[in-house]
């Protein structure tokens, strides 16, 4: 009987001695209340904003801008429906890529807003840079959200069509309305301009002052503020912090920023868009690269592309001597014949060879083209004459340089230089160029507001055509 009593007492004792039994702590998370209370943690949170925004661009938006501007340069030989929807300019409200880009961008904006809200806990020495980065990222997001999800900005017009919700403080309205195109551009512009003032010059991993100026030059081109555009591009060029790579191909596929990169989203072997769970089915190289590099051989490059270039232009050079035993290191031109399984005998673009390389975002060559275009529009020679800028670009491509250039030439040069880098559709829209049989302002060239978002937030209107 005694033994039994001891056992009973023991069991009661066990029960009452473990009041902490239910107090378990998560092992890979910290509580929200304490997360943003130190400068170190603010920096850590902001780092994550780069990831979200990178992932939004690195597939959904970059592909959107290129495939929706495609006029036969790419022959899609993959299986996914999402790129086919882009290529056929045939999106629906429930299309997946526009939805996930929207989500990624607003996740990034949320972090930026939280960082800006708690910026006062950051030490003075770090404060400007961190605040500047948050503003840079937020401004960049709003600029591109407006470009993709709203009708084209028309300089001088009222631009009062619905764009995207403008969320600057996430503790406010949970179910916002869409702000107008003009309002969103204004916000993007003021964020980027403030960022350009705050950011340091010497930062290469994160955003620096010239990243903000470079993006601003894109924005000014869109809004038709030519002088500002030329000046912003000129500031970047004149900083002399950047220089053109030796060859066109050398500008791409680097683990660290090259001298030509003004801003990239960083990627490495362990953190990138494209190798999630080892499948390599996402991101840029997954679609652009041939099998046996890191891709799926999906985007076969056609004669339409090669017809853009004069003979000998390095930017249109095709390498044909690769075999199934070749590897990434054997690729020596911007275009190459496929190797490995299922390439279907096609040729591929070498701008995106590997998911573990930085995501080229804005580079010096664009600044020359922007300065040239803005100067031509503005009838000025801020920094240099347009023909000099075009000459710089063409010399590197090992192709004849013109005596004079006009707007048409500069625009075509811009396409030849920057094709497949995630901007083409916006350039076409700026110039009023149609895509195949669609006018530049066709509602088919505008993303839908994601159906999921409208299901949840009934205050959101839908774009024409969806």
């Amino acid at each position: 009987m005694k033994r039994i009593k001891i056992l009973l007492y023991l069991s009661v004792f066990v029960l009452f001695s473990c009041q902490d039994f239910l107090e378990l702590e998560p092992k890979q998370s910290i509580d929200t209340e304490t997360a943003l209370t130190s400068g170190e943690n603010i920096r850590l949170a902001l780092n994550r904003a780069y990831v979200d925004i990178r992932d939004g661009y690195g597939q959904q938006l970059f592909h959107g801008a290129e495939l929706m501007a495609d006029q036969g340069e790419i022959n899609f030989q993959g299986t996914y429906i999402q790129p086919r929807e882009y290529l056929s300019k045939n999106l629906v409200a429930s299309s997946m890529w526009p939805e996930s880009a929207w989500q990624d961008m607003y996740q990034g904006i949320y972090i930026c807003n939280q960082v800006l809200k708690n910026i006062d806990v950051v030490e003075q020495t770090e404060k400007d840079q961190i605040k500047g980065e948050a503003l840079f990222l937020r401004g960049l997001c709003y600029f591109d959200l407006a470009r993709f999800y709203a009708p084209t900005y028309k300089p001088g017009a009222s631009n009062n069509a619905d764009a995207v919700p403008l969320v600057l403080d996430n503790t406010e309205e949970q179910y916002p309305y869409r702000a107008t195109v003009q309002e969103v551009y204004n916000q993007a512009q003021s964020d980027l301009e403030e960022a350009a003032n705050l950011l340091s010059e010497g930062e290469y991993f994160f955003a620096n002052k010239f990243a903000a100026k470079a993006i601003l030059s894109r924005l000014y081109l869109t809004t038709g503020e030519w002088e500002k555009a030329a000046n912003a591009a000129n500031d970047v060029i004149e900083s002399e912090l950047f220089s053109l790579s030796a060859t066109p191909l050398a500008a791409f596929n680097h683990a660290a920023n090259t001298a030509e990169d003004i801003f990239t989203f960083q990627q490495n072997n362990d953190d990138n868009l494209g190798n999630e769970s080892g499948t390599g089915n996402e991101g840029m190289s997954a679609f652009y690269a041939s099998t046996n590099v890191t891709g799926r051989s999906d985007f076969a490059i056609t004669e339409v592309l090669f017809a853009l270039y004069e003979d000998g232009d390095l930017r249109g050079e095709l390498q044909t001597d690769l075999t199934d035993d070749s590897d990434e290191g054997d690729i020596k031109s911007l275009y190459y014949n496929g190797f490995g399984n299922n390439h279907g005998g096609a040729n591929f673009c070498a701008k995106w060879l590997n998911f573990d390389k930085n995501l080229t975002f804005i580079r010096l060559a664009e600044m020359y083209l922007t300065r040239a275009e803005a100067n031509l529009e503005n009838d000025s020679e801020i920094g240099a004459a347009p023909v000099e800028d075009i000459t710089a670009i063409r010399l590197r491509a090992d192709v004849d340089t013109p005596e004079t250039v006009d707007l048409e030439f500069v625009r075509n040069e811009r396409i030849r230089e920057l094709i497949f880098e995630g901007n083409r559709l916006h350039d076409y829209k700026r110039w009023g160029w149609s895509v195949e049989d669609l006018a530049y302002d066709s509602p088919q060239l505008v993303f839908p507001v994601p159906q999921r978002e409208r299901d949840v937030n009934t205050n959101l209107s839908q774009n024409e055509n969806y």
């Binding site: 998560p26 509580d31 056929s88 990434e328 299922n342 994601p450």
Partner: protein, 997 residues
């Protein structure tokens, strides 16, 4: 043995001193097979004098003078009392107690006889189920129990089996029942990587080790499991030897041959070239008349004559051979009893590359330390290997071979052909490896101490330790492994322990009051640790472990845990042998609940009336048993995320720099879901229970549904978890058994039927996962999309209905309204079994059916898409529209133009089916014959599984439930009735032998 000898000597001495003794001898046999029954207790009624039958069923007893009858008792058999009438030899046949009212049912923290139970509890006839080997024991329950819906996700091996007790009562939390094995709550959650289908940790239990399975269905039975009772509770006990049971050794072996139940035909080369060629011409991919040449040239052919004609189905499936062997023994004496069992299973799936191998060993021991104290321990070790193929969404998986164009060869010179349009999964099959090895240990120790009369103390400490290792190698020759090979390793360890202590008090007062009370406490904690590593760039395919990798490809570790602390009690009261009352109460505290809501209360009350015991029922012969039951109670579902209530920032990184990421919004009020369930049931038996059965009506209302309330992405989050929403399940369950013939030729029929109506009463906003949707007033997971209106006979355009209920159609997909177009929940399901036996021969025929559910072919947009792309097409696509006036529901083929290929009701089908689930013919060799060889019992049998299937579902097998990619708990609750390159079920023929000696 000494004790027994002593008792016998005592008895002898006693008998010698009694001058008027009579000796009675006899043999006790089993009525169903005529075999001798050892270990039957024989007692002279009204005395304590008794004996047990020996190994050959013989007994000898000397009842004292004046004894009028002998009582024969044996577990699992009906107790029989036989008048002596001066006889000296009495032979007795004991009948099975299969549906007997005195059957012992294991309930939470105790056991009860069936007639005393006021709740709805299904007990399965395990012995009969075990006559046929099953890959996993749950699958053999299919069609056997009303109100328990069982569905295998596909014909792949080792993957999750969906079990729903009385419908789906949760949207975000798990809907699988709670499994309690030998008193211990075991780990049942899927342990596999999220990129493949769920695994099934329950498959680690060896069916042959199981002695009983009961399923607690209503609140009165399940409320003692409190916050985890809402989905029903499956209580399993494993075998133990019985007191004075002679030791026997059982050996069994079986071999199975399997093939797919149904295989769907696809286009041959000629048809394919015709359709795709036409499609290309229609969409200006080829000039008029050049379409066939164009598609042939895509395949690298100049003419159709040089193109092969491959039936890719032949390469995905195989004739699979499986075998299973087991050896077990059980027995016991007065003080100690044992069971041990070893088994080895080697199963092949009908799908190439998918195998399952399991070794299991178990030892169960009981020992009576003293009159008061019983101790015991159970120990089970399992090792299993699951050889897996990729998920159904990957080209690498064998089922996706059916997407390949028929004009490609599968192999060239023995190597899988590399230039198919889509990646050829045979390359992965040949060069890749994906093995999941599991080590599982179930161990527990328990004590039962009699304290005073009627009061017993129980203590149990149990451990369930699960170690799973997923080891994958992807060759450089494959898409996923290029350019230089990749290898991944994932380990998951769950250590889950339970410590229960409780008191049981049973007392009879004044003969008419019977009271039983159980009260105690329970602690449980589960800790999980997951780690992953990955490497890439291997010297060659001969090096496959990460040690040889040149570069890292993945690194990760993750730890989580949860705990429960609970108090529970139950009281059962029976008055005058016919009025029953029961109540239970449990307090659950859990680390999963929010700080403001840490403890929950759960209770139930129930009553029963044994009408057949009333005086007015005693003088009739028709109704032999009639019991009315009613119960009401509250149970919970706490299968939510371990830290679901906290606002969290999670560790992350940005290209080599550390980062933190907002991962979850806080909700300190977060708690369990509550289900209030009312059950009214009637148990009946007619003609001395030759016909008996049960009927139950239930209504379950679940409130405080845990919902991930969707937030606009503009908030920075996709959702927040809240307790909002309500849904209901109501249904009827009916089962009836009839002993149509008794005697030498026996014929037994049992039928069970159930219906469950599910309705969402209240949610914040509609939820959509793929094609399934949750919205108010509708059952969970209705199919929601555009409604297909066929083909415009004028131009071949696919048409959709503009609005719900309107006849107006449009060829503009975007303009058509989304609407509910189907319901994947079945209206009725059940089974019908007939069992015949004659002398040593027995025959079992089981039909199983599911009726009234809709299915959607998610792959229809690829494989039944009027040649929209290069995927091979189902045969019906040849009926495409070709010229004005054609009446068909297959739109004009237009290559790449998505004419009718976007999700719509075009691919919704009736998923009802009727199956000849099982047919088993067995033969017990005559005792005379085998006893010469020293054998006790030999049974040989042949059995067929899924032999015939009748269905209108056009694709492979209708029993399927695609898990979807990037699945979450919520998506797997809601995604139902989806076919997506799903492996059909296996049709198997098994031949086996069981020997006892």
């Amino acid at each position: 043995m000494k004790k027994i000898t002593f008792i016998i000597i005592c008895l002898l001495i006693f008998n010698l001193s009694n001058a008027q003794v009579q000796t009675i001898t006899g043999k006790v046999t089993s009525s169903d097979d005529g075999l001798p029954l050892p270990g039957v207790t024989v007692v002279a009624e009204g005395t304590t004098i008794g004996t047990v039958t020996n190994a050959d069923g013989y007994y000898e007893i000397q009842p004292p003078a004046g004894s009028r009858s002998l009582k024969f008792t044996f577990i699992g058999k009906k107790t029989q009392t036989v008048d002596i009438n001066g006889r000296t030899s009495i032979n007795v046949q004991l009948e099975d107690e299969a549906v007997g009212v005195d059957e012992v049912i294991v309930v939470g923290f105790g056991q009860q006889v069936k007639s005393d139970i006021t709740g709805s509890i299904a007990k399965l006839d395990v012995e009969s189920l075990q006559k046929v080997p099953a890959p996993s024991f749950e699958s053999s329950l299919q069609g056997k129990t009303p109100g328990v819906f069982i569905e295998k996700s596909s014909g792949k091996l080792g993957e999750g089996i969906k079990i729903r007790v009385r419908g789906t009562s949760s949207l975000s939390a798990s809907n699988q029942p709670l499994y309690v094995v030998d008193g211990m709550i075991i780990t049942t959650e899927d342990q596999g990587t999220l990129t493949n289908h769920p695994t099934n940790p329950i498959a680690d239990l060896n069916f042959d080790d199981i002695e009983s399975i009961q399923i607690l269905k209503d609140a009165s039975a399940a409320a003692i499991y409190g916050s985890r009772g809402s989905n029903g509770v499956v209580i399993i006990t494993t075998k133990t030897g019985r007191t004075n049971q002679p030791s026997r050794i059982n050996f069994s072996y079986s071999r199975s041959y399997s093939e797919p139940t149904i295989v769907t035909d696809f286009l041959n080369t000629e048809e394919y070239v015709e359709l795709i060629g036409e499609s290309m011409e229609n969409a200006q991919w080829a000039d008029s008349g050049q379409g066939e040449a164009q598609i042939l040239s895509w395949g690298g052919y100049e003419s159709i004559e040089e193109a092969p004609n491959t039936n890719w189905n032949d390469h995905a499936f195989r004739n699979a051979v499986s075998s299973s062997a087991s050896l077990s023994s059980q027995g016991g004496n007065e003080s100690s009893q044992y069971y041990f069992g070893f088994s080895y299973d080697d199963q092949e799936a009908i799908l190439i590359g998918n195998d399952y191998e399991r070794f299991s060993g178990r030892l169960n021991l009981n020992h009576k330390v003293s009159e008061r104290v019983d101790l015991g321990a159970k120990f089970n070790f399992v090792k299993s290997d699951l050889y897996r193929v990729s998920n159904d969404n990957a080209f690498a998986t064998p089922m996706q071979l059916i997407a390949q164009a028929p004009f490609f060869p599968a192999f060239v010179d023995g190597e899988p052909y590399g230039d198919t349009f889509y990646y050829n999964g045979l390359i992965s099959h040949k060069y890749d490896r994906n093995d999941t090895r599991t080590y599982r240990t179930f161990a527990n120790a328990f004590a039962r101490i009699k304290m005073t009369k009627g009061l017993t103390f129980h203590s149990l400490f149990g451990v369930d330790n699960l170690n799973q290792r997923e080891d994958q190698y992807r060759s450089r020759k494959t898409d996923d492994g290029s350019p230089a090979g990749k290898s991944y390793l994932r380990n998951s360890n769950i250590f889950n322990w339970t410590f229960d202590n409780y008191l049981n008090y049973t007392q009879n007062f004044n003969e008419v009051h019977k009271l039983e009370i159980v009260a105690g406490n329970s602690l449980q904690k589960s800790e999980q640790f997951i780690s992953r590593t990955g490497g890439k760039t291997f010297p060659s395919d001969e090096f496959q472990t990460i040690a040889s990798a040149a570069e890292n490809d993945d690194f990760y570790s993750f730890a989580t845990s949860y705990s429960y602390m609970s108090l529970f009690s139950r009281a059962n009261y029976k008055y005058a042998g016919k009025y029953l009352l029961a109540a239970s109460y449990r307090i659950d505290g859990s680390s999963k609940f929010g700080a403001d809501n840490r403890y929950g209360n759960f209770y139930s009350g129930s009553a029963g009336w044994l009408i057949s015991e009333e005086a007015f029922m005693l003088n009739q012969e028709i109704v032999s048993y009639l019991k009315l039951r009613a119960s009401y109670g509250l149970t919970g579902n706490s299968e939510i995320g371990n830290f679901g209530s906290r606002g969290l920032y999670e560790g992350s990184s940005y290209a080599g720099k550390p980062a933190i990421r907002p991962s979850q919004l806080a909700n300190p009020d977060l708690s369990w879901e509550t289900t209030a369930q009312t059950d009214i049931g009637l148990d009946f038996g007619f003609f001395k229970n030759r016909i008996n059965g049960e009927i139950d009506f239930y209504y379950k209302k679940t409130s405080d549904l845990l919902l991930n309330r969707l937030l606009p992405y503009t908030t920075g989050f996709a959702s927040i978890t809240e307790n909002v929403g309500e849904l209901e399940n109501k249904g009827v369950e009916f089962s009836i058994n009839s002993n149509n013939l008794t005697g030498d030729l026996k014929w037994n029929t049992s039928l069970n039927l159930a219906t469950n109506k599910n309705k969402v009463l209240n949610i914040v906003s509609p939820m959509t996962f793929g094609r399934n949707r949750v919205e108010e007033g509708q059952p969970i997971g209705v199919l929601y999309m555009k409604k297909y209106a066929g083909v415009d006979p004028e131009n071949g355009d696919a048409l959709y209905y503009l609005e719900k209920g309107s006849d107006e159609t449009t060829n503009n997909y975007s303009q058509a309204a989304d609407m509910v177009v189907g319901d994947p929940n079945p209206d009725w399901y059940g089974g019908l079994e007939n069992f015949f036996s004659y002398k040593g021969i027995d025959l079992k025929i089981l039909f199983q059916f599911v009726y009234g559910n809709d299915m959607y072919n998610e792959a229809g947009r690829f494989m039944s898409a009027n040649g929209d792309w290069v995927d091979n097409q189902t045969k019906d696509q040849m009926n495409r529209w070709q010229q004005a006036g054609d009446i068909t529901d297959v739109p004009q083929a237009r290559f790449g133009e998505s004419n009718g290929t976007r999700p719509s009701s075009r691919w919704i089908y009736d998923g009802s089916y009727l199956r000849l689930k099982n047919l088993t013919l067995g033969y017990n060799l005559p005792t005379k014959l085998i006893s010469k060889a020293g054998l006790y019992k030999v049974r040989i049998y042949a059995s067929g599984l899924n032999i015939m299937t009748w269905t209108n579902f056009p694709l492979y097998d209708p029993e399927v439930n695609s898990a979807g990619t990037n699945r979450t708990q919520t998506s797997s609750n809601i995604q139902q009735g989806i076919w997506y390159y799903s492996t059909p079920q296996a049709k198997s023929y098994t031949f086996g032998i069981k020997i006892t000696f």
